[in-house]
């Protein structure tokens, strides 16, 4: 009943994406893909989110924000890097201000490749993240015992 994967709430943050991936993330909410059927809500509030979905690589300005958002989310939580920029830095990797993928600042659980990542693969990535989320919840319960 209280499996967290039955009602995962998403927080979407654009670290430095070209907006291509962001539009694909929003695509998932449209009638065609409708991620609400999995109980997923796109919330804007880190206090209430279970999944942090980040698009774009981290730059020196967004590093602080990414860390802050991550630290404000209650356990258990997972991070999904959407798009090749978020995975490795992508085509912006060599830029002077880019630090690289999201995993250079916070731990990432699922990588979704693609430029831009297709809605299908984003949903796929989120589903993978749900499994990780359940495992983390189990581990949390065992810790408490």
């Amino acid at each position: 009943m209280n499996k967290v994967s039955k009602s995962p709430w998403l927080l979407h943050y654009d670290a430095s994406s070209c907006n291509g991936c962001d539009i694909e993330v929003l695509d998932c909410l449209t009638p065609k893909y409708d991620i609400e059927r999995f109980g997923i809500i796109n919330t804007g509030d880190p206090f209430q989110a279970d999944i942090l979905l980040i698009t774009g690589g981290v730059n020196s300005q967004t590093e602080r924000v990414v860390k802050q958002l991550y630290s404000q989310m209650p356990e258990p939580k997972v991070v999904v890097a959407v798009g090749i920029c978020a995975c490795t830095g992508g085509i912006f990797k060599e830029c002077y201000n880019i630090k690289g993928g999201i995993d250079t600042v916070i731990p990432v659980d699922v990588y979704v490749p693609g430029c831009a990542a297709r809605p299908e693969s984003i949903i796929d990535g989120v589903m993978k993240a749900l499994k990780v989320l359940d495992e983390k919840q189990k581990a949390m319960k065992e810790d408490r015992r």
Binding site: M1, K6, P31, E36, F38, T43, G44, Q72, P74
Partner: protein, 286 residues
Amino acid sequence: MNVCFVIAYLLFAPLLGGLLDGTDRIISARMQRRKGPSILQPFYDLGKLFSKELIAVNNVQFLLNLSYLVILMIAGALLFFGADLLMTLFILSTADMFLIMAASSDSSPYANMGASREMLQMMAYEPLTLLIAVGFYLAEGSFQVSDIIDAPVSAILWMPGLFVGFMYTAAIKLRKSPFDLSTSHHAHQEMVKGITTEMSGPALAIMNIAEYYELVLLLGIFSLFFINSTWWSWIVAIIACGLVFFAETLWDNVSARVKWKSLLYSCWIVTLVAGGVNILILMLIK
């Protein structure tokens, strides 16, 4: 008999409220040509929220949230016991004050803004709520809920204007668009999540349960308009509540959020025109 009603309310209101919320989400999804979540989704959400870590932003917020829940339960219990309607309505607004205090106790500017908007919403719907109590008194000669439901004819015949006004302002209480200024059920609003911004896990779950109690309480007040001494009026009341709920969902989906001024003025105009005229006519003919 009355005690049974109260126990049933305290035990089953969250269940009924959750199911109604689930239905609301499915109906909204269908209106937007989506499939929507399962009808049990609100319960999955509650289960998850209770299992999550509670990030306490301060040590009073959780307590204030809990008071919001308990006071709402008292207000509903009074209504379903058949006690004083005026008392129920006063306690209902007291409960809201606790929510406002919970939201303004934390440091998030979004939560504080939500709290001041919630206060504004109270200013908008409170006059009409009081007029409804007055209307019931003029129509049935008593504030006691047990007398109101024993009347020979339904109250709606005496107070159609107040009923329309109550439907208008109930959208504020149910946090439906266009009046979901302080916090919204839908994703992304201009100030994150308004009053619930800094409520995480169990704190949010408690707030949700309180909202379910409030929903059932409001539907209870709606049914007061229909119930009279005959048995079939109860069936009419249940159908009417269903229709009211559907109408609010439809309104939620077809309208966009308004500015606070439009909220305040439109509510007061509706109160004055629909409520005031209704009360005047009642005073003349009764």
